[in-house]
Subunit: 345 residues, 4 copies
């Protein structure tokens, strides 16, 4: 059994990692840390897991974590991981970091969006953990920068089409919508029930930190700098994310051409589902799962493709993808621990 630890286990992504890893057939989760709840049983914080998850939260201690685990999931706010990761790597641990700290190759792009980086040297070692795109590099990586939720939902439908020269990367507009859990478990007026319910609005318009992350990866696909327009919105629901993406076509293609491009790129990928006949994907259909469902419509006469992708922001957008990365790094089946049958509603 692989020994795993979750650092920052009581945020929503951390707790979701605890859920998935506790049910993973080849993993023994034997460490959960939480500064806020150190000394408390994990199931006191998340009572759904009473009698199921029998772990107590510890304060973070690099030596203890190293001693008890083979692989470490960091589910902390950015800035913290860059201080903890170097030590753990030195001790031979494999690390999947869910913050932004190790997602960027370009340190100045990171520093422009976040803050000075304290472990720059590791950026050339770390691999961007978008499994379907960078699978081979992930298999041999020691440090993964687990993708942001918005980037996952935007890059997956676009990457094959850009790489194959179907769409004009300069024309891309991504209009994304996220459930409230994306803002985390911390309290805020925005996440207060009475102000989130029956409310829908954009936020951080053309200024969200996930935008440079998308730009860096999409530039790889394009082989040239890409700078998309990106507007996130907040949905009155708990879990789920949808991105509707508009892009101009660079050549004359049919619906089938685009379908084939996506289908070939994602052949053998257990978590990508392309909908039939352009049916728009629904966040409800991926709730609690690691799926990314993709649909698209070719706009007749306008030479434009409209792509839609949905994920569960806490699963494929965070904890599920992190476990998928671990599976690849550890030589397990890519979908181990991630193939529960989805709920019908």
């Amino acid at each position: 059994m692989i020994r795993a630890g979750v650092v920052g286990a009581t945020g929503y992504a951390g707790a979701e990692l605890v859920r998935i890893l506790s049910g993973h057939p080849e993993v023994k989760l034997n460490m959960t840390t939480s500064r806020q709840y150190a000394g408390k049983p994990f199931a006191d914080i998340f009572p759904s897991m009473k009698g199921v998850v029998d772990l107590t939260c510890a304060d973070y201690d690099g030596n203890q974590v190293a001693e008890k685990t083979d692989v470490v999931f960091m589910a902390l706010p950015h800035k913290l991981p860059m201080n903890f990761v170097p030590e753990l790597l030195k001790k031979g641990k494999k690390i999947i970091d869910l913050s932004a700290d190790f997602r960027f190759s370009n340190v100045s792009a990171y520093e422009a969006a976040y803050q000075p980086h304290a472990a720059k040297d590791l950026l050339k070692e770390s691999v961007y953990g978008l499994c379907e795109v960078f699978r081979d590099r992930i298999r041999t990586a020691k440090l993964i920068g687990n993708p942001g939720c918005y980037p996952t939902s935007v890059i997956l439908p676009l990457y094959p089409l850009i790489q194959n020269g179907f769409v004009d990367a300069a024309s891309i507009i991504a209009d994304s919508k996220s459930g409230v859990s994306g803002a985390g478990r911390s309290l805020s007026q925005t996440s207060h029930y009475c102000e989130a319910t029956e409310s829908f609005k954009a936020y951080k318009v053309a200024g969200h930190r996930h935008q440079p992350e998308m730009n860096e990866i999409l530039s790889l696909a394009a082989g040239a700098p890409v700078d998309i327009t990106f507007v996130p919105h907040l949905l009155p629901m708990s879990r789920g994310m949808e991105s509707t993406i508009y892009a101009n076509l660079k050549k004359s293609v049919t619906y089938q051409d685009i379908y084939d491009c996506l289908a070939e790129f994602y052949a053998g990928c257990p978590f990508i589902r392309i909908t039939d006949n352009g049916r728009p994907p629904d966040t409800a259909h991926v709730r609690g799962t690691n799926f990314c469902d993709i649909g698209f419509v070719l706009e007749k006469g306008k030479n434009r493709v409209i792509l839609m992708a949905v994920i569960d922001n806490l699963v494929k957008g965070a904890a599920g993808q992190a476990v998928q990365n671990m599976n690849l790094m550890m030589g397990l089946s890519e979908s181990a621990g991630l193939n529960a049958v989805p709920y019908p509603i």
Copy 2:
């Protein structure tokens, strides 16, 4: 007192008309029709109004309607109004039709999206009831085609910018999101609680009937044919609509230039609020009101403006705008009956 009637009073738009007209200081609502609930007290269908609205639903009878009313609101599915309106007009009634039947000038655009038109001649008489844009023509109109909810939320932020040559109409993309009440009171799997809650998805992608309606009006603003890209989505909430609109700028402008363009165009308009500093408007802030809140962000370096508009789809997107039209037609204050103080939450 103006005598008003609501034909089709037990759909959501009809019931909202009953609410507003019952509280209107210069109107006596003395007729509500409903095929499905003929003979039943209106407050049996909408018990919130018990003791407040004392009307019984009647079957539609043109003579009775004409006898009892000065102004008639038609809140029926399209295709029905075109058969009822000619008779009522002949009898001198003023009519606000909430269906699509009298929104188009171009009969073939209507027929392509809907069905053969049975009262084509009236299309040149009818006025598109977007009050802030066509106020003068509305004042003297006898027949109003009350705008669709999506078109209201898309045209209001765009019209001044197109008319003033700020934006390239060919580049417009509108990504809109509607609460479930937009689909009406009729039963459908899509509106079933368990399938609408915690669900978000696009529908009728680049194929919604409101698209030609927007095109016709925006073409007027542009002085040339416009064909926008439009994708509607369904939100897990009851009331509220948001449109995020992307358009390329035709000239070099500042935030203040755009602000001024909108502010001047809408000077004196009681229901248009432009947010401060580009703050994205929130559907919760217009819930139950006739307001359209507009915010925008200028995307640096991309020569693109991102406009956001929110309305309550049942009020400014339907019944409220219909009453605003009546106010104009009848020479009343534009906001009569529509100025209740909004709820804080």
Copy 3:
């Protein structure tokens, strides 16, 4: 015009007072205080009211409040009002306090549930502001203890039946359910969207502070000490409260007897609606209104009546009832400012 002030205007009850008073035909709201937001425009905190409510929040200053107002609404957490009220009363202001500080006649009952009382002498002057029950005393009162939301929903259906000897007060069980707004605008994990949605649970079982408040008033009706069983629950919705109340009958009565008892007691009361044929009342039907809808079922063979009452916890359960109290104190129509037509959905 009556000059009114709201102290603590940026909590949910305070903001709802601002909404109602701003639309009240005989009131000029000219003072809003907020410690947290002093110096900020009220509409910055509640943007729904932009362009409608043009007030700036001030820090509380007894002299200023006294100078600018005739009547003062205190919408503060308990303990604060007892320190502010004596000075304002001395200056001749009429006061409606929405906290628990002036609801009790029995100071030891208050002190057992809350804390030592700093203005005990005023308790014999203050009147419990349940308008339908204590209307005459309210008309001449200078200080009102505005009822709690749960007590309003529990006492209104019970009072007439207890007073008329229909039910055995010792047998009463009230099972109540409240929307999240009842917990206020302050942040808490319980009110976090992701933890409140799709969640239902009891809390403070048989230990809620509203229980002694109910007991005191119901004891008045019974003419003997009453101690009910009371369990509150938290609903996954914003506004609305329902109480289902079980009581044994003391004599053989029919449905009609009970109906008549309620109908006679509440004859002429504009905000009490008794449903037809025992139809269970629905919180959605009183949303945003000052109504209390009451339904009941006689359980055959068990000599038991099941009463159900619904209110909007922020209106009849707080701000609406407070304004109703002001109307009575000021000799206005009882429903002035409170008679907006309810929403159909």
Copy 4:
């Protein structure tokens, strides 16, 4: 592998059975029937299961069902199963019926609540499938009447206390609340999103068909006829059920006495969790699971216990309990296929 079939697979309980059985390690689900969707792939109706569940819905044909299955789950409205079951039993199939048809021993109680019974003889063979209470009889049963959701949530907390003489069965009042999925997938105005959201109300007060079902089982516990008071309510959420139950104590007991009574009765039961220190259980903590969480409070001075139980109405209240029954009937581990780690939110 056990070959299983689901008859009526496209209702919510049926679909939930498909979910659980598809992931069950010892079951091969090889038959799903649906009258409405015969010939259609199951995953077309529930697209969350695309690529996961590869079954096509068939029309019901007793011979085919018998040929392809060892155990049959009937997820049909009551009245239909009584016509299908006799034939399947004769062919040696084991049957778990989720309707009311085989829940009653007392045929006249069934007929009073439902309709004439067409297979009365089977009622003495069928076993009430409340696993924790009737485990031994279930192990050898051929036909299970799977309990209703409300009865499950009411009987589980009460049964041990009644059987051990703690509570006065004549005093029991159960105030229950159900998510909308309890009303099924069929369309109705009550389940329309706009009318269910932000709504809470009682229904079928003291007249719900689950009441005689509870009475029959609780009478067994009491050894004498029991007739409880039962009021169901509808919650604005999808999945989840809570029952708050009031009962007078027959003897002087402590919190610990009651805790021990429950803990002993449910020792070794994998799906019963008693909360600590009387903490009220939360529907969110059992969402998607087969757990029944029970909490209780002893009301000092009133000799009354307040019990609270929560379940997921579609799992422990329907499909999960049905699979638990199958596990017992087939000699599998009681929790096989039912032990996925719960979601944290």
